[in-house]
Symmetry: C2
Subunit: 193 residues, 2 copies
DNA sequence: GTCTATAAGAAGATAGAC
DNA sequence: GTCTATCTTCTTATAGAC
């Protein structure tokens, strides 16, 4: 692996676990296996390294959602359910990328807050748009209730996932996935026609 | 206000906004209006100040949930709905206490992680127990479905709230509350008998 | 309890040799 | 690109006068 890739990999893990201020350049250098000043041959400063990761994670996130929703022609219930479980599964895994994304979406380092919220806000809008389309489609096919708006169903879908994933603090990933299957029942009962 | 109370108030706000590592003792002292070393007359060090706040917030949180659930004799649907909106409302307000609690529940400063997760984990168990009882009661009265477990309903209830509250990053509190009312419909359709 | 002064170390970042 | 050495600034924390 090239040094720059290694820097990205290691700093991603450290930022995700320790936060922006909790991660030092010395710490990153040590995990990469180089000395601290060598980092500055690859990145102008700590901020630019961090923002580079933010860009990568935004791109990956959109790709991930698109792929999760693309289940082939299985019908909307299965499609939504499979994607639901895929999110919860992947986000509760010890995946530095997902942890990084959620952490800094919710708690951006204050000096970089504006740039971060702009970038990630755009990403979220894109992703929510995709799902809302799906819901609207399900309504037109008579599978989903017309008593609720498509946006509401999409919004609630994401809110529920985010809430479930948050539970990692208390429960093992397997337990959360089990719980997600049950929470899905509540949700599906709530949106079906 | 006594100095110690002022220290708590100001540091709570700073920790909630900037995180543990992002908040310096100098920063706190400045907001309190005293010099940095004076802080050490009230707290042994930064950790003990922080952990004192954690204790306070845990106590407040349990009290808050208990009060929210205590709506008088209005029937379980109204009781759950009112509490639901109260959480979302209070949690999306610019309330340092709530922000502090959620932030460090999810992302504890690594050196204090064990103490924090123990304390807050205990608190969460207590709170979830309260709600599960309510759900079981609703099932016995035939208001809530027996197709789902009481734990599932309680768990999903909290997950949905946490997910909704997370949206503060993107939307104004009023918009989230509006959305919460709609998400409630999904949820209630999902759990009613 | 609050202050000034200061220690001791860690932070981000640069200079310049190889 | 990577290193050693160094700078500057900021960090937590203490000593000791008032």
């Amino acid at each position: 692996m090239h040094t720059k890739e290694k820097i990205k990999k290691e700093s991603l893990e450290l930022f995700a676990l320790l936060g922006y201020e909790g991660t030092s350049m010395a710490n990153i250098a040590e995990n990469v296996g180089i000395k601290k000043p060598s980092l500055y041959a690859h990145y102008k400063n700590k901020e630019s390294l961090f923002l580079d990761l933010v860009m990568d994670m935004s791109t990956d996130y959109v790709k991930f959602i698109e792929e999760s929703l693309d289940q082939g022609n299985v019908g909307i219930e299965k499609q939504l359910y499979k994607a639901f479980l895929t999110y919860v599964h992947d986000w509760t895994q010890d995946d530095a990328g997902n942890q990084f994304y959620s952490r800094f979406l919710q708690y951006p380092p204050q000096p970089l807050a504006k740039q971060l919220t702009d970038t990630l806000g755009e990403t979220e809008r894109k992703v929510r748009g995709l799902l809302t389309e799906l819901m609207r489609d399900g309504q037109q096919k008579g599978i989903l209730t017309n008593e609720l708006g498509a946006e509401t169903m999409a919004y609630t879908y994401f809110a529920l996932i985010e809430g479930l994933v948050t539970e990692v603090v208390f429960y093992a990933p397997e337990d959360i996935i089990e719980q997600a299957k049950k929470s899905w029942k509540v949700y599906w009962r709530g949106i079906k026609a």
